[in-house]
């Protein structure tokens, strides 16, 4: 019995951990612990499903370890349950569901089997059936807080927010220290338009688990929307430090606009770089915007352009601090270049790319050389990372990278030769090299 309770507990924690996983996911689309909504949202990507299964398997392993010490109610039902767990191990959820149903046929009041069935159905996307199973569990044992939580999760998937809130509140009455209960109550309260209720729920979750990064992030956003920017920045900072890229993006945005914190574009850029490195597209967009502002020197905002240039310079200086062993003078020029000169080309490439993204011209020039020629013994020519950098920045409309990429296509360096593409990249480019190259391409037969 004890082992099955552990199973339930572990399985439900799995749901919560999915939320955590999704929050740190590099994918920029929002993911929650909920199964895919049939109508509103597309099915989660395979990688996410695989991760969920892995978590489920972890829970099952924990169960099988502890099951030996338990006293089974019914030997036959126990056998089916055992097979079901084994099937879950092999990702065979339909098979597991069949075994769990068999176990329940032999022992209809088996709470572990029914809870397990509910969870399996929920993960299969059959939310209605899962809700039915959870309700039966709660009829059998109304004081089972975790069952209320599981039912609330399923109800949330059905967008039945009021019912979900009731279940969550019931669960928290039975077990006030359920962190996931408070967290999900925060989600439900917000969705129902109760911003203050949501903020309180997240604060409660954080009191129980102060290092709960997702709660910090969500609370930060709530406070931001509630027009409490200073408090929001504190929460976002906690979440950003824990490595949540969205939190890092929003924190960067707060620093960039001076909303709730003293305006500091350099800090903003730093946080955006961190978020962008985790694949946060909005952060990439923001950085691209700053680059354009600095390089395209739009007439409307020269002050903003200068600020952007300075911010990128500060960011480059911070990169130099990551390599205290390098000569300071050299570092002023480019840390990456210094590394290349020290023969640390492999190590230099990511640094050069970061510096180039931060508008370092020496780094950009070095990348051009490295891409075309490589580094003896350390780096082959036509490095894909460098090509991606050129493509990205060329798309942003930066003149130099466009010229370089045009040259790459014109010469077919690491890519199939494509003069048309090269020509289109050079069109309207004020760069002298670009104009010369365009003439050469035009003159070519």
């Amino acid at each position: 019995m004890k082992a099955l309770v552990v199973l339930l507990s572990v399985l439900s924690m799995t749901a919560l951990s999915l939320e955590n996983v999704s929050a740190v996911s590099p994918d920029d689309t929002e993911k929650t612990s909920l199964p895919p909504d049939q109508t509103a949202a597309p099915a989660p990507p395979p990688s996410q499903q695989g991760q969920a299964r892995a978590e489920l398997r972890e829970a099952v392993r924990a169960l099988t370890k502890q099951r030996d010490g338990a006293h089974p109610h019914s030997h036959s039902a126990e056998a089916y349950l055992e097979v079901a767990l084994a099937l879950i191990e092999t990702d065979n959820l339909p098979g597991a569901i069949a075994q769990l149903r068999e176990a329940l046929r032999l022992q209809p009041d088996s709470i572990p089997a029914r809870s397990g069935l509910g969870l399996a159905l929920y993960h299969m996307g059959d939310v209605d059936s899962a809700i039915e199973e959870y309700r039966v569990v709660l009829e059998l044992q109304p004081n089972l807080a975790q069952a209320h939580i599981n039912l609330a999760m399923a109800l949330m998937a059905k967008h039945d927010w009021a019912a979900a809130r009731t279940e969550l509140q019931s669960a928290l009455r039975l077990q006030p220290d359920l962190v996931e209960g408070h967290y999900n109550l925060g989600v439900v309260q917000y969705t129902m338009g109760n911003l203050s209720g949501a903020i309180e729920a997240y604060r409660q979750a954080l009191r129980l688990k102060p290092d709960f990064a997702d709660a910090h992030y969500n609370l930060g956003l709530m406070l931001k929307l509630a027009n409490q920017p200073a408090d929001a920045v504190q929460e976002l900072l906690a979440a950003a430090r824990a490595g949540l890229p969205k939190a890092q993006y929003f924190l960067g945005a707060a620093y960039a606009s001076g909303n709730g914190v003293e305006r500091n574009l350099a800090v903003a850029i730093t946080w955006w770089f961190r978020a962008a490195e985790q694949g946060m597209s909005q952060a990439r967009e923001s950085l691209a915007q700053q680059r354009q502002l600095a390089l395209l020197k739009t007439k409307q905002s020269p002050v903003e352009a200068r600020a952007a240039v300075e911010a990128f310079k500060d960011f480059r200086a911070q990169i130099a601090k990551e390599f205290p062993d390098l000569n300071a003078n050299v570092a002023e020029e480019s840390v990456g270049v210094s590394l290349v000169r020290q023969g640390r080309s492999q190590e230099a490439v990511p640094v050069l790319i970061r510096e180039a993204y931060a508008l370092s011209e020496p780094a950009q020039a070095e990348l051009e050389t490295l891409y075309e020629n490589g580094a003896d013994g350390q780096l082959k020519p036509y490095d894909a990372r460098i090509l991606t950098y050129f493509k990205t920045t060329a798309t942003e409309g930066l003149p130099r990278p466009r010229t370089v990429l045009a040259l790459i296509y014109a010469k077919g360096l690491g890519v199939p030769q494509d003069l048309t593409k090269a020509g289109s990249l050079l069109k309207g480019n004020p760069n002298e090299d670009a104009q010369r190259l365009l003439k050469e391409i035009s003159a070519a037969p």
Binding site: A40, V187, Y190, L225, N227, F250, E285
Partner: protein, 907 residues
């Protein structure tokens, strides 16, 4: 003045009608504006507006319902980078995102994008309240872009109670927030939008206005609102670089008319959301910049959901209406509605002018000029709408104009009819006075004549030596004085008679006044006359025919007056044929030809055994004419007792057949004709006044042939042709000489006489040419003996027994004429066996003159009797009278003798 009165009256009626059927008339008023909006060529919308639609392809990609707010956030960021001046999102943003649509992260993303973009305008839904809460708006519930206003000044504006549809998290960060309230007119069509809705002490702008204010960089303190006047943006910075005020007219409720340009968003530069998104995904910033750079970008929802009726179409969402409002404001093509008071004034002016035109011009000219007036007003309405943006009222002024036209026309007819009645009354009075004066004149004439005779007798007596010369001379002097007085009185009476006759003539001239006929109308009428057998080119006759045409369709009784032979029956038949009764019987009766004893039986019929000889039931003329027309010719010859019976039938439309116990109902139209002056008959008492008015529904006077000489040739030609055709002789023509002879004839018997003359000539002629000789015209010469009784009587009759006039006509002195009449009178008295009435009728020959003659006879006879009183025996009297009546024609003395003897015999 009268026209102004009609104008005022019709405007008041129209106003009352407007209050009574306000909805219908408002709908009618607006339907014209709607038609103009629909039919005008839709102008391109402002180039500064770009509309982005959520089309089917977009919904297929992003879902048909609400979207992940992160998508909108990215959209805003991209458009901001592409240089869009203002971004308006008509999107449901009132609910927090559920976790399945990105949850709070997406909301925060949109909030962040809204803030960093700094150019987003969101809509908010307002829920209206009936009363204005006077307190100040709670902090945090209002947007800084909403102008603070004095609530008491804008109390007439619509009041918002609560705001929904936009999360505060988005509202805080938005550059502007506007309401999307649109209210339909009473007919369910949305033509206007409230530019501002009050929310406590703030004025929430319409979404389109909020976009405009953001685009033109107008701060809330630069806005001034004047209810019933305009909303003014003090320093609007237009995209072309100029800074100028933007003025938009509003009514007292803060509403402005939307100048729709085409249906939906067809007139706008528009893209699908997917196009923009693809460009964004492909990072085609240049393309995006070209599309949206410096413009107001409006993202509209799908056109699903409730649709609103507008003048340009049915399927329009509130968002599209806001797009049209934005275009109206930005393009400065505001439409202004003239105040209702101007409509009333316009109506007053138009109605007065229309009434004046109808009253002064009358007829088709009046109608044509009012039509031109209406058309001119419509043209002005169209011009001001197309070029000035002013909507002038149409229904009220034109409705009132129509009413005024009808009113003035009716009034014109009523006045004319009333004037006619007054004239008739006046004529009757004059006639009556004339009769009285005539009678007085007759008495005075007789008195004068008597006095003259007495004076002569006295003089003769005085000349004889009887010893009483002195006394006789004195008596003669007295008689002379009396005679002078009598003559003076007679002269005065004659003078008065002349005056009255003149007056009567003038009245007749006024009542018989006819409108002149145009050439084209004459020709048309002539052809129509021809079709009915009326041959004429005479404008007078054609005017009569026109009146017949007008009156024929009604059931009015018709009285045709004219000399014998002028074609009264022909016109009576025309009345019948032109009336709706044309297919029913037409019964013509000559009233003079019906024996008085059989009058009732003939007219009303009889039942079997009702009198001796009534062998079976017989229908009378009235019954035969049931549902048709009865034509009663010579109605003036109807006896008084029969007039009463006829009147009852005409009044009650029922009668009893002779011997019947049940009444018979009839429906007949009466056309009566006479050659007598019935008005005079009424005055003289031989025609009933009530019957006269009953018959005189429409009076027509047919001119005698001598007054329509131009018709003579036409008639002669036609009669010759007809007569020749009847006897099978074609090619017979009338010589010029014969025609001239015809023209010279007086034609007392009018057309009938002419017809018979020509018929006879055609029958007797031998060649193919009718000559003067063939016409066998009786030479027109006076009677051979002017002294003969016939000649004198004829002249007397012609002069209506006016002694003086007759004496003048015969070139005699008056006493000679008097003596002749006296002699003829004595003869008639003798021949009638003393029956004065019969004697008078014999002499008068015309009932109209009987009374005058009777009076004269009475005077003559009384004078004779008075003379006889002095004598004891008939012989003495005869001897004395021979002297006294020595001027009497000899042939009449024997009648005097007879009368004297009869007198003595009786006494």
């Amino acid at each position: 003045m009268y026209a102004a009165l009609i104008g005022l009256l019709t405007t008041v009626i129209m106003l009352a009608g407007w209050f009574w059927a306000s909805n219908s008339l408002t709908a009618l008023e607006w339907s014209m504006y709607d038609a103009w909006t629909r039919l005008k060529r839709p102008a391109r919308a402002s180039p500064w507006i770009v509309v982005i639609n959520r089309d089917a392809a977009t919904d297929a990609r992003f879902g048909a319902g609400a979207w992940d707010h992160a998508v909108l956030a990215r959209f805003i960021t991209a458009l901001g980078r592409a240089g869009a001046a203002v971004i308006g999102l008509e999107f449901p943003l009132g609910e927090p995102s559920p976790p399945t649509r990105g949850g709070i992260a997406s909301d925060a993303m949109l909030s962040e994008a809204t803030k960093s973009s700094g150019r987003v305008v969101y809509p908010v839904r307002v829920n209206l309240s009936e009363v204005a809460p006077p307190q100040q708006a709670a902090p945090g519930t209002v947007h800084p872009s909403w102008p603070i206003v004095k609530t008491d000044q804008l109390r007439s504006f619509r009041q918002a109670e609560t705001l929904t549809g936009l999360l505060p998290a988005f509202a805080y960060q938005a550059k502007g927030v506007g309401h999307t309230l649109v209210l339909a007119d009473e007919d369910g069509v949305v033509r206007r939008a409230p530019l501002y809705v009050m929310f406590n002490d703030r004025a929430i702008p319409a979404f389109g206005l909020a976009l405009t204010a953001t685009f033109l960089q107008v701060a809330p303190e630069q806005v001034s609102i004047n209810p019933g006047g305009a909303v003014k943006f003090q320093e609007a910075r237009f995209p072309d670089g100029r800074t100028a005020p933007l003025i938009t007219p509003i009514d007292t409720r803060g509403e402005t008319l939307i100048n729709y340009t085409g249906e939906g968003t067809a007139a706008f530069t528009s893209f699908s959301f997917l196009e923009i998104w693809n460009a964004l995904e492909e990072k085609e910033m240049e393309k995006l910049r070209e599309w949206v750079g410096g413009k107001v970008v409006l993202l509209l929802p799908t056109t699903q959901g409730p649709t609103i009726r507008t003048p340009v179409g049915r399927h329009v969402s509130a968002a599209i209406i806001q797009a049209h409002l934005l275009n109206t404001l930005l393009s400065g093509n505001s439409v202004k509605q003239a105040s209702p008071i101007s409509g009333v004034f316009g109506a007053l002016l138009l109605t007065t002018v229309a009434a004046w035109l109808i009253l002064s011009l009358g007829g088709w000219k009046g109608f044509a000029s009012t039509a031109v007036l209406a058309a001119s007003y419509l043209a002005i309405v169209l011009f001001t709408l197309s070029f000035g943006g002013w909507i002038l009222p149409v229904v009220m002024p034109l409705g009132a104009l129509t009413l005024a036209t009808a009113g003035a026309t009716v009034s014109l007819h009523l006045t004319a009819s009333y004037r006619m009645r007054l004239m008739e009354g006046a004529m009757l009075r004059v006639q009556q006075e004339l009769v009285a004066v005539r009678e007085a004149l007759v008495c005075q004439e007789s008195n004068t004549e008597g006095l003259e005779e007495d004076l002569e007798e006295a003089r003769a007596a005085a000349a004889r030596p009887t010893g009483k010369e002195q006394e006789l001379l004195q008596a003669a002097d007295i008689l002379r004085e009396q005679l002078t007085t009598a003559r003076t009185q007679e002269t005065a009476t004659r003078h008065r008679l002349q005056e009255l006759e003149h007056e009567l003539q003038s009245l007749r001239a006024v009542t018989s006044e006819t409108h002149r006929l145009g050439d084209a109308e004459q020709e048309r009428l002539r052809l129509e006359c021809d079709a009915l057998g009326i041959i004429t080119r005479d404008p007078q006759v054609l005017a009569v025919f026109r009146d017949i045409k007008k009156g024929a369709r009604s059931s009015l009784s018709v009285l045709i007056m004219g000399e014998p032979g002028t074609g009264k029956e022909l016109f009576a038949r025309a009345v019948h044929r032109l009336s709706p009764r044309a297919s029913q019987p037409f019964i013509a009766i000559n009233m003079a030809a019906i024996s008085p004893e059989l009058f009732e039986s003939e007219l009303f019929g009889h039942v079997r055994g009702s009198f001796t000889g009534a062998m079976g039931d017989r229908k009378g003329y009235f019954e035969l004419a049931h549902q048709g027309t009865i034509f009663m010719d010579e109605i003036g010859d109807l006896r008084l007792e029969h007039q009463g019976k006829l009147l009852r039938v005409l009044q009650e439309k029922t009668f009893y057949r002779v011997g019947a116990t049940k009444p018979t109902m009839i429906d007949v139209r009466v056309v009566a004709a006479t050659n007598k002056d019935l008005q005079r008959g009424v005055s003289e008492g031989w025609f009933r006044e009530d019957l006269y008015f009953r018959l005189n529904g429409m009076a027509l006077r047919l001119p005698p042939l001598r007054e329509r000489r131009q018709d003579l040739a036409l008639l002669a030609e036609r009669f010759v042709l007809d007569a020749a055709a009847r006897i099978g002789r074609n090619g017979l023509t009338l010589s010029e000489e014969a025609l001239a002879a015809l023209q010279a004839q007086p034609w007392k018997g009018n057309v009938r006489e002419l017809y018979h003359c020509l018929e006879q000539a055609v029958a007797l002629v031998e060649g193919n040419l009718l000559t003067k000789h063939d016409l066998r015209l009786a030479p027109w010469s006076p009677p051979p003996d002017p002294n003969s009784d016939e000649a004198v009587l004829d002249c007397l009759r012609q002069q209506e027994f006016d002694m003086q006039a007759t004496a003048r006509a015969l070139s005699w002195d008056r006493s000679t004429v008097t003596q002749h009449l006296k002699g003829m009178g004595f003869r008639a008295l003798v021949e009638s066996g003393g029956d004065q009435a019969k004697a008078a009728l014999t002499l008068a020959g015309d009932p109209a003159l009987v009374r005058t003659v009777e009076l004269k006879l009475l005077e003559y006879y009384e004078h004779l009797v008075k003379t006889l009183q002095e004598f004891g025996t008939p012989e003495e009297a005869i001897a004395a009278c021979r002297k006294r009546f020595k001027n009497l024609p000899d042939r009449h003395y024997r009648f005097v003798e007879v009368l004297i003897r009869k007198h003595f015999d009786r006494s």
